[in-house]
């Protein structure tokens, strides 16, 4: 009888011992989990601080770059999508008419027609007298804009431009008009050839962006 109780007693002790052991193991695991979570949170906090720092440094770089680019006149005048506004003059050129009394020869037609070299010579005259920006029929001329004859059109910036040619010029209109009317410049020869020429001061001209 006593022997039996002994076994029960022993089993109870072992059970309670094992039960405690399982609980201790569970607590150990939880502590371990807490420890790992704390490490993970520390790392995340460090990462957060690093990202914050990077954002701060890079935002400063971005601000400086933005200010640097936006403050440069070249950006406003040549790159940005902004149109530019300025004062100057407008020249309108149109092929001359041939009277019924005139003999219709090739030479006469050629004289009365505006050719690419005429426009190029006029642009040269404008540039040497201080033209800052030039637009022809809404096409703003750039550093590499060429002008070539393409039958009844002028070919410029890969676009066909028909007459009349409206040449808008930003610059000192008084100086430009005075110098254009000198004998050495091409305008006089246009007038002599019977090409229709109109020159006017013009304010608030709006130039397109480069195409």
């Amino acid at each position: 009888m006593i022997k039996k109780y002994k076994y029960y007693l022993l089993s109870g002790i072992i059970f309670l011992g094992l039960y405690n052991y399982e609980m201790l193991l569970d607590i150990y695991r939880r502590y371990e989990s807490k420890f790992l979570l704390n490490i993970s949170i520390d790392e995340l906090l460090k990462e957060k601080a690093t990202i914050h720092n990077k954002i701060y440094i890079k935002s400063n770089i971005l601000d400086k770059k933005t200010e640097n680019i936006e403050n440069q006149a070249i950006n406003k005048l040549f790159i940005s999508d902004q149109k530019i506004v300025g004062d100057g003059l407008e020249i309108i050129l149109e092929d001359g008419n041939i009277n019924d009394l005139e003999e219709k020869t090739d030479v006469l037609y050629s004289q009365k027609t505006i050719h690419d070299i005429d426009i190029n010579m006029l642009l040269n005259d404008l540039r040497k007298n201080g033209a800052e920006f030039i637009e022809i029929n809404g096409i703003r001329l750039s550093y590499d804009t060429y002008i070539y004859c393409a039958g009844p059109f002028l070919l410029m910036a890969d676009k066909k431009v028909p007459a009349p040619f409206i040449i808008e010029v930003i610059g000192d209109s008084n100086i430009l008009i005075k110098s254009l009317m000198e004998d050495s410049n091409i305008i006089k020869s246009f007038i002599n050839r019977g090409i229709k020429v109109s020159i006017n001061h013009k304010k608030d001209m709006v130039f397109n962006t480069f195409s």
């Binding site: 006593i2 109780y5 109870g12 002790i13 309670l16 039960y19 405690n20 609980m23 201790l24 569970d26 607590i27 939880r30 502590y31 989990s33 979570l37 704390n38 993970s40 949170i41 995340l44 990462e47 957060k48 990202i51 914050h52 990077k54 954002i55 890079k58 935002s59 770089i61 971005l62 770059k65 933005t66 680019i69 070249i74 950006n75 005048l77 040549f78 790159i79 506004v85 300025g86 004062d87 690419d116 070299i117 190029n120 010579m121 040269n124 005259d125 404008l126 540039r127 040497k128 007298n129 201080g130 800052e132 920006f133 550093y143 590499d144 804009t145 060429y146 070539y148 930003i170 000192d172």
Partner: protein
């Protein structure tokens, strides 16, 4: 009798021991259970904290990416701006290109009174070079910008307002652009014989890396508002 007492003592002792053991175990159980609950709460709190931080860092990373994208875009704009400054003649420019040397033919070929090159031919050549793909042009080292005009004065040609070249000497154009395209345009029949250019020979030299210096004159935009 003695054996009986001994047995009772053993049983009694065992019962007392068991009672103490059970009491201690209960205490342990209670303590451990409390610790477990406390730890569970702490772990849940930490998990929430970690989750919130992860989310916060994700948002910050997105913000950083956005700033970096904007910087990249600004870098491109800066690069475009610098390239534009080169094309406009504000800065030196280098790249593939050609040198076109224009030399007057000998008196024996063209006679003594053969006309010199004039504004008209220079204007024609500059236009031809642009049409042929020149991105930058210089005449005898003087940069031609979109504001440069040329003007003849005796034996000199003014390039812009304050620099001139002698027409008695060779005229050397430097052009930056695609070599084949430039040569095809220049060598096209008749292009180098316009006006008094027929009194001149021309030679083309290729350069894999040519430098054209910036303009000595600043671009003006006084009448732009």
């Amino acid at each position: 009798m003695d054996k009986m007492v001994l047995k009772l003592c053993v049983i009694g002792g065992s019962l007392i021991g068991l009672g103490i053991f059970a009491s201690e175990t209960y205490k342990d159980y209670y303590f451990l259970n409390q610790s477990t609950n406390k730890l569970s709460i702490e772990i849940d709190k930490l998990k929430n904290e970690r989750y919130a931080l992860e989310k916060e860092n994700e948002i910050l990373k997105e913000k950083l990416d956005e700033v970096e994208r904007k910087i990249y875009s600004k870098d491109q704009q800066e690069s475009e701006l610098n390239q534009m400054k080169e094309f406009l003649g504000i800065n030196d420019i280098s790249g593939t290109g050609i040198e076109v040397i224009i030399e007057k033919k000998s008196f024996l070929e063209i006679g003594e009174n053969a006309e010199n090159i004039s504004e008209k031919e220079i204007v024609h050549l500059i236009n031809l070079f642009k049409f042929s793909g020149a991105k930058a042009i210089s005449i005898n080292g003087i940069r031609v910008t979109h504001q440069t005009g040329v003007k003849l004065a005796g034996d000199f040609l003014w390039v812009g307002d304050n620099e001139r070249i002698s027409l008695v000497e060779n005229i050397i154009f430097k052009l930056i652009g695609d070599i084949n395209s430039l040569k095809q345009g220049i060598n096209f029949h008749g292009e180098m014989e316009v006006g008094s250019l027929s009194n001149y020979n021309y030679t083309i030299i290729d350069y894999s890396n040519m430098l054209i210096e910036k303009s000595s004159k600043s671009l003006s935009y006084d009448f732009v508002r």
